[in-house]
Amino acid sequence: MTTLSDLKISEVKLEGEHVGKWGMVIDQDICTGCQACVAACSMENNIPFVGEEDSGYGRAMHWIRIERFWEGEYPEVKMTNQQPMMCQQCGSAPCEPVCPAFATVHSQAEQLNLQVYNRCVGTRYCANNCPYQVRTFNWRDYQRPEPLPNQFNPDVTVRRRGVMEKCTFCIQRIHKAQDKAKSEGREVADGEFTTACAQACPSNAITFGRIDKEDTLVYQMMHHGQSHGKKHLEELGTLPSITYMNGGGA
């Protein structure tokens, strides 16, 4: 007879649980909060700067933000480990079903959370429903005076006002690498390319790669260091693709 204690909570699986395809491991312990990822992301993804007033009013459009909290009071004050926050590319993303226009959907091929700028009508429901609060909205047509637009990345759409956007895991780089691999008749190799943030990160705190294969670096990091790796707000059943590590001895 099955008793209650025989049921382990770990056996309760979410319906349709899957591992995802692309993932990231972020080591908060070595993240120095230097903002290189933020700058790299903004440059790669044509993110507009919003100016002093708007940025101070919760309208900064960083796709990745580095959170830090305070613990204790002087002199026992401690700055917590930096926490880079970007779209977690949830396997079961709360933002997707609530969009009336299918502007944010799940990519079955890439197992990513897509944002289709053209479809977006700006209800901002997705952003409300994102437990990670990582979606940014084009509140205005933020101006980039000439000749700044020369710097635009031609692989990434420039968004206009009224459109929601968020971290894409640099999907333009994913596609480029896949196209290249396909033309060479092979699969994308682990570490063949990386996202702008991971590429810039001076402390290598961000590692990006495939997580659906066991021999990849990110998979190894996720599972090897499981004792101190965690996913944010996992309890909501969002199946995030980013694992956060917080130091601690091996």
Partner: protein, 181 residues
């Protein structure tokens, strides 16, 4: 003579001050041999057939409403169950099914109600021949609370009808003339 001629073709219109005499007049006319189908009572308040002792009116409104409900339900079914398969490619949101049941119920309900109410409204138009801007037999006193009976009966002598109407208290009996309302 011309007046008489028009009477035969257009019938009579009697105006009653109240419900009671009008009901009596209906009874009187029926006794006279005027068929119910030849009478039409026009009133400014909804007096029921039973009050006037008239046969029940036939109305298509409930049937059309039901039909509309079925149409609405079908439209809802289309949107809920068929449209998701008409996309260029299957679109997955979160881990929800392509056709999720609970939202489908919302859809079915709203569209059923919309279909029903729209067709109810439409049915009133159809059954009452609205909008209708042709000249019609009518006197404006009706909206002041009078009740009018329009009698168009060819096999009963018009004089008798007129007398009966007057006997039961008609304020005026005139040949019914179709006028621009």
């Amino acid at each position: 003579m011309a007046e008489k001629k028009s009477t035969t073709s257009h019938g009579l219109l009697a105006v009653f001050p109240d419900l009671e005499p009008a009901a009596n007049a209906v009874e009187g006319l029926r006794a006279l041999g005027v068929d119910d189908a030849c009478m039409n009572v026009i009133s400014g308040v909804p007096v029921t057939e039973a009050m006037l002792g008239r046969p029940p009116q036939h109305s298509n409104v409930p049937r059309v409403a039901m039909g509309g409900a079925i149409l609405g339900f079908s439209a809802g079914s289309f949107l809920a169950f068929i449209a998701p398969f008409m996309y260029a490619y299957p679109i997955q949101v979160s881990t929800q099914a392509y056709v999720p049941w609970p939202p489908s119920f919302v859809l079915l309900f709203e569209l059923t109600m919309l279909g029903m109410l729209l067709s109810t409204f439409l049915a009133v138009f159809l059954d009452s021949f609205f909008p209708n801007y042709r000249p019609m037999k009518y006197v404006p006193e009706i909206s002041d609370g009078k009740i009018a009976i329009v009698v168009e009966c060819e096999h009963v002598e018009e004089k008798k009808i007129m007398d009966t109407l007057k006997k039961f208290g008609a304020e005026s009996v005139k040949p019914a003339e179709a006028k621009q309302l």
